[in-house]
């Protein structure tokens, strides 16, 4: 919503022949934060990455980026009221490093998982619960609107969902195409039931994609749609409020990147401990498979 208003503000200011100019700023010098991203879902093991933020400098190269991964953290989990910590193992893939479980720990619905990351003398903790999934009723394949350039080969997916009572449910949507991995819909992956509580609703399943790639215009035209012949996996996850708040603020912030009129949005980390930004995300999810016919 805000985005539309800001968009219109932008166009109004453009009318006033506004002009833009590059400037120099002395950026504040401050220690860069630790960035933690961790997931656990029903039937899957935990997956955690730890990296550093990068201080603002004019150019950030690919090398700078690859050096951001932190491989010396001690990452451990406890389940519910257990006191025994399960340590995750660091694995490397090129420069990238990840922390995974090697003890057959699988997420279970109803469990609360406490994550502890100890690194360079800092300790960061966060907890998440795997909530009971709320399955989608059905997913229907519909033709893409005629206005699409190659609408003949594109389709859109519509999900039908009876939102359960009472109010206070939060969801996250991710999709996977064929052999790719799951991606969220950037800037728009989460839902709450503030206005749809208890109602039967339908909504478009927008295809997610990696944000590492540039969005060139041809790509953008196809963005969100699927191709005939695709096999699409739709992950629909119940999430807890702290996680929702993280994504909500994170998406609001990244969605306003480069938008000069946007107010400052501070991302709400789920972690305790100063100097850290991150999310520890439990998904209580269902995965639906949609095989889109070739014709």
């Amino acid at each position: 919503m805000k985005r539309y208003i800001l968009l219109s503000l932008l166009s109004v200011s453009m009318f006033f022949s506004s002009c833009e100019k590059d400037i120099n700023i002395d950026f504040p010098v401050a220690p860069s934060p630790y960035v933690i991203e961790g997931y656990i879902e029903n039937g899957q093991g935990p997956f955690v990455t730890v990296s550093r933020g990068i201080s603002f400098i004019n150019e950030i190269s690919n090398d700078d980026f690859l050096n951001l991964f932190v491989d010396n953290a001690k990452v451990s989990l406890t389940v519910n009221n257990d006191t025994t910590a399960i340590f995750l193992k660091m694995v490397k893939l090129g420069n990238a490093s990840f922390y995974i479980d090697t003890t057959q720990l699988l997420g279970q619905i109803g469990n609360t998982y406490h994550l502890k990351v100890a690194v360079d003398g800092h300790v960061f903790t966060s907890s998440t619960q795997i909530l009971p999934p709320a399955p989608l009723d059905s997913i229907v394949v519909k033709p893409a609107p005629d206005s699409r350039a190659d609408s003949d080969s594109l389709v859109q997916l519509t999900a039908y969902f009876k939102e359960p009572n009472p109010m206070g449910n939060y969801y996250r949507l991710l999709t996977k195409k064929n052999n790719d991995i799951f991606y969220d819909v950037a800037f728009n992956s989460i839902y709450d039931d503030a206005i749809v509580n208890g109602k039967a609703i339908q909504f478009s399943v927008i295809g997610g994609k990696s944000q590492f790639q540039n969005n060139d215009s041809a790509d953008f035209r196809e963005y969100g749609y699927f191709r005939k012949g695709d096999i699409v996996y739709v992950k629909w996850a119940s999430i807890d409020k702290p996680q929702y708040d993280f994504w909500k603020t994170f998406e609001a912030q990244s969605g306003s990147f480069g938008n000069p009129f946007s107010p400052t949005v501070i991302v709400k980390s789920t972690f305790k401990g100063a100097g850290c930004l991150g999310v520890w995300a439990g998904y209580g999810c269902t995965i639906d498979t949609v095989i889109i016919p070739k014709n």
């Binding site: 919503m1 539309y4 503000l9 109004v12 006033f16 990296s51 933020g53 859109q156 000069p260």
Partner: protein
């Protein structure tokens, strides 16, 4: 505390009934001879006593004196004074019809026109601007804007380049009570604040009170902006209008019954949309998009008898924004409407009463559609009010005001309706908030001794939120854990507040005085704004069990002196404001549909202080003013900025302006405005972070708030007004203005532009500034017949 009030009350009442000689009153109205328009705040002085009185908002004055022969002078800035000798042996009715200087010959710009109020009145921090004076100053895009002119006064800051929103003495944009013919205007801006809702042709005068707020005003912490619409010429029919770059105006006025009643109808509409249309091809993504605003002002008045007069005034304005993109369409209209009905009645020469019924409504709507998704959001505030205000003139030493007011508020939170595919969304009920607001006040402006004049007042304010309402109780993580439902009319929370108002003037010499003021104010309705400047989406939210009324104590002291036989008015004022129960959004609020928006608020305290310097010359061919403010505005919130004190967004160390106007001859008048201000505070992140899906995020330190400053703001505007033709029947003038003459690229906003691809060539981070208004010339043609 109690003793203080009793003392105050005693002080208020005691001097009122001192003498018991045979006395009579001189009373009447002060009006414009040509149009019959009321001259608000004109001065009526008894020469023998060197004492006078100001006419009230309806031009009424009354002076009670012992039997005798008196010379009485009625004057008003920009008008030729009338001197009259009155033999007072019975009550005398005397109406003064003053002639404007522009009508009488040039030599008549008499120095007898005194600007003595500057140092003689008890009023501090108050400025009145006459619309006619404002019209010779440079304007942006050809639109004369009274709120932008107010921003050139010390202590008043613009909320952003070219914006009509303003901050007064370190207070928020919602802390200004903007009144149009006594009706509250909740959103005073068009086009996201770039233009004010006040059509210059429909306005008589504007008064700004930023300190020492008299007891008849309340409900806002920082200031009162009292805008009076023209009443309309009751002698003859006239049309006034103008054609500008982006908008045109037309005002019609005239008598309904000559000398007794009149009407004024003003309309204004922009045509940005029509101007752009030919340049936008029908296949362009912007085709079908557009923006316009319009407003209408109507005022009628009728003199029922010598003692009764009724007024009706109304305002209706609307903004409409349309955007049609390939993927979605959006449309949002918003606007205010106000209606005022007033009845003036004179009980006797000494007691004047005005009874008012008011209606004010602000609605914002936004409608959007996107493939199988359609929705409309709306929000707003609606007031029904009634008030009664008495002016009592017991004798020349006292001017007493008392009255009461009541308002019923309805606040509509942002509410969504729409369809998603085949299912429709509408809230089972809209969780509106209802409130009763009431006040009663008493004040007396009186001479304690020859040198000391006091204005003492007391205002009682009452606010009550009533049902129906559902309050959602949130647990620690912010999930709704419980709901309390209040029934129809059920009392949810009641506040009683007493607000003492006190100002004193001590005359130190024939043309100088020292004044001091102490003001307590409470604010029961607040604007929930994320952006720092006012957007039409911002919600008005009442005090409730969660939101306590904002509270301000202001202390001010000043030295006022007129120089060169009153040609120059000068002043230095110092102020200190102590603010409590201030409202901000919690740290991580993104702005969302919220059943109880108060759950997103956090509360804190603030203080602001500063010094204001002002020199004004209002007479002669060459006039204008110079103002400078040095100020600080700080905020402390336990839950924001790590609990550390931070500067408010509108903290401005230096803020100055030079406003000049020069009348060369009958044909040409020149104007110039120079403005300088410290840069506004803004936030900068310290790091860029990456997530596994490739999305980037910004990291701010915990005490990030308003630590950085935009570069200082300055610009020069010039104007020339050419009177092409001026006869008794017809007048045609051209206004040529250049905004930002030396094209200083002021920073409207600074942001980070991040380009590139981190997996390949890397990212480039470039800070950029946006300038909204560079060098902008404009021309406007104005006419009058």
């Amino acid at each position: 505390m109690k003793n203080k009030f009793i003392f105050l009350l005693a002080l208020l009442v005691s001097p009122t009934f001192l003498f018991a000689q045979q006395k009579f009153s001189i009373s009447g109205f002060v009006k414009d001879a040509f149009s019959g328009e009321t001259l608000i705040g004109s001065t009526v002085v008894i020469k023998e006593l060197g004492k006078g009185i100001n006419s009230n908002e309806y031009g009424y004055y009354s002076i009670t004196l012992p039997t005798g022969k008196y010379q009485i002078v009625a004057s008003f800035l920009g008008y030729k004074p009338i001197v009259d000798t009155i033999n007072l042996t019975k009550n005398v009715k005397r109406n003064f019809f003053l002639k404007s200087n522009s009508i009488v010959s040039k030599e008549a710009i008499v120095l007898a026109e005194k600007a003595e109020n500057n140092f003689k009145s008890t009023q501090m921090g108050t400025q009145t601007l006459q619309m006619e004076k404002v019209k010779t100053l440079p304007v942006i895009l050809g639109e004369v804007d009274i709120l932008k002119t107010l921003q050139l006064l010390p202590g008043v800051q613009s909320s952003g380049e070219g914006n009509s929103g303003f901050y007064v003495r370190g207070g928020g944009p919602d802390q200004n009570l903007v009144l149009l013919d006594e009706a509250t205007v909740y959103n005073s801006g068009h086009l996201f604040g770039f233009f004010s809702v006040f059509n210059s042709d429909a306005i008589n005068s504007v008064t700004l009170i930023k300190g020492g707020m008299p007891a008849e005003y309340g409900g806002r912490l920082s200031s009162v902006v009292n805008v009076n619409m023209k009443e309309g010429n009751n002698q003859s029919y006239h049309a006034t209008g103008g054609v500008g770059l982006i908008a045109s105006r037309l005002t019609l006025e005239g008598p309904i019954q000559k000398g007794k009643s009149s009407f004024m109808l003003a309309a204004r509409r922009t045509y940005i949309d029509a101007l752009i249309k030919p340049f936008v091809s029908s296949t362009s993504t912007l085709s079908g998009s557009g923006y316009y605003f319009y407003d209408l002002n109507l005022k009628l008045n009728y003199q029922l008898s010598e003692k009764d007069r009724v007024f009706f005034s109304g305002y209706y304005g609307k903004d409409q924004f349309l955007f049609k993109g390939e993927r979605f369409g959006i449309k949002f209209p918003w606007g205010n409407s106000t209606t005022t009905m007033r009845w003036n009645h004179l009980f006797n020469e000494k007691l004047f009463v005005n009874t008012t019924a008011l209606f004010s409504d602000y609605v914002f709507k936004i409608g959007a559609s996107q493939s199988n998704f359609d929705f409309e959001l709306f929000s707003g505030v609606r007031d029904y009010s009634t008030k009664v205000d008495f002016d009592y003139f017991p004798n020349i030493r006292n001017q007493v005001k008392f009255g009461a007011a009541y308002t019923f508020h309805t606040f509509t939170p942002t509410t969504a309706t729409g369809t998603i595919g085949e299912s429709s969304i509408s809230p089972e009920k809209i969780n509106r908030q209802y409130a009763n607001e009431a006040a009663a006040y008493f004040s007396n402006d009186f001479d304690l001794t020859e040198k000391i004049k006091i204005n003492a007042g007391l205002r009682y304010a009452f606010f009550q939120q009533i049902g129906p309402y559902d309050r959602y109780i949130q647990n620690d993580v912010g999930t709704i854990s419980d709901t309390i439902s209040y029934g129809d009319g059920e009392n949810i929370k009641t506040y009683h507040r007493l607000e003492p108002r006190f100002s004193i003037r001590f005359q130190t010499s024939k043309s100088a005085s020292i004044k001091a003021a102490y003001t307590v104010t409470n604010q029961f309705v607040n604007l929930a704004s994320l952006s720092g400047s006012t957007l039409p989406t911002d919600l008005w939210v009442p005090a409730s069990s969660v939101v306590k009324p904002q509270f301000c104590t202001q202390y001010s002291i000043g030295y006022f002196r007129n120089l060169k036989d009153d040609q120059f008015e000068t002043s230095v004022e110092l102020y200190y404001k102590d603010l409590k129960n201030l409202i901000e959004f919690k740290e991580n609020t993104t702005g969302r549909l919220s059943a109880n928006i108060e759950n997103d608020f956090t509360f804190g305290i603030g203080r602001s202080y500063g010094a204001e310097f002002f020199i004004k010359k209002s007479v002669g061919k060459f006039n204008g003013w110079v103002g400078y403010t040095h100020s600080y505005a700080q905020r402390t919130f336990a839950d924001l900025n790590e609990g550390k004190t931070f500067f408010a967004r509108y903290d401005r160390r230096h803020d100055g302006s030079i406003v000049l106007s020069y009348t060369l001859n009958n044909k040409w008048t020149f104007g110039s405005v120079f403005v300088y201000g410290s840069g506004a505070a803004f936030n900068l992140p310290t790091s860029l972070v990456f997530f596994s899906n490739g999305t980037q995020g910004l990291y701010f330190e915990n005490d990030y708030r308003n630590k950085y400053r935009l570069s200082p703001y300055h610009r020069l505007d010039i104007s020339a007004t050419y009177t092409a033709k001026k006869t008794a029947k017809y007048e045609s003038t051209w206004n040529f203005s250049i905004y930002n003459v030396y094209n200083h690229l002021n920073q409207y906003i600074v942001y980070l532009d991040i380009q590139g691809d981190i997996l390949n060539q890397g990212l480039k981070v470039q800070p950029k500034q946006i300038t909204v208004f560079p060098f902008i010339p404009s021309v406007t043609w104005n006419f009058k017949f």
